[in-house]
């Protein structure tokens, strides 16, 4: 089970621009770092982060090994209608994680 922490306001007024924040537990191993045996630790990163609002993509990010471990992302979105904001992370070794929040737009 992936450990994700998502933050969004629970209720917002229609048309308001809100901040969405997401944290996920992930090593973001760069592939450039020597391990105990002197050999490089294989790369293991999240490559793609996407957010959808009721199924419509609102934000996408492509990450490189230079994104810090346990990636944190914050961005904004205009609240149009109540529904579910879904966050998805995918990466090396078939990594895939999801999290979502419900937002009520009044």
């Amino acid at each position: 089970m992936a450990n994700v922490l998502i933050n969004a306001p629970k209720t917002v007024r229609k048309g308001e621009t809100i901040e969405l924040k997401a944290l996920i537990l992930h090593p973001m191993e760069t592939g450039f770092r020597p391990g105990a045996n002197g050999q490089l630790i294989p790369r293991n990163i999240i490559e793609q982060f996407t957010a959808t609002w009721n199924g419509v993509e609102i934000f996408r990010m492509k990450m490189s090994p230079a994104v810090a471990a346990n990636p944190y992302v914050s961005f904004f979105a205009v609240a149009k209608e109540s529904g579910t904001i879904r966050f998805q992370w995918t990466g090396d070794r078939n990594f895939s994680a999801e999290g979502s929040v419900m937002v009520t737009v009044t």
Binding site: F59, M61, P71, V73
Partner: protein, 152 residues
């Protein structure tokens, strides 16, 4: 940060009095960064302005450096920021991240945390729906953590 090599991880006593060895592994260079930027923007002109790159000038540890990129834009259908690309000079690779946005974002502001292997320049380029490219850059000094543990 692409973890420093063992020489750099040596205790602060070393770093206090001995010149820190340069990052040895093949890394990005100003040239590699320029090439990477060209890869993304093509031949288009990149103009300074409209982009604010908020990053601390001096960081205590390069493993997680907070960055916020803000772009002045009405974020309408007709005129919005389509993407924000961030590059660096000296990590092993010049790419940091690319973020794709649209009018739905309301504000062209993205924040995250990045690794910086060494003191270096970071560049943010914003691509608008009108095909313009705006940019900002910042120099960051990364100090070396003290009392680290050897990677074992």
């Amino acid at each position: 940060m692409m973890q420093p090599l063992p020489t750099r991880r040596a205790f602060v006593a070393g770093s206090l009095l001995v010149t820190v060895l340069p990052f040895v592994s093949a890394g990005a260079t100003p040239d590699a960064m320029t090439a990477a930027i060209r890869d993304v923007v093509g031949e288009a002109q990149i103009r300074p302005g409209r982009v604010t790159l908020d990053i601390p000038p001096l960081v205590e540890n390069g493993n997680a450096v907070p960055v916020t990129i803000r772009v002045e834009s009405p974020m309408t259908e007709a005129d919005h920021v389509r993407a924000i690309h961030v590059f660096n000079e000296k990590n092993p690779q010049p790419h940091v991240f690319n973020a794709w946005l649209g009018p739905r974002n309301g504000k062209a502001v993205v924040a995250t945390r990045i690794k910086l292997a060494d003191a270096q320049k970071v560049v943010a380029v914003a691509e608008t729906s009108r095909g313009e490219f705006w940019s900002a850059s910042a120099d960051v000094i990364v100090t070396i953590a003290a009392c680290t543990e050897d990677v074992k």
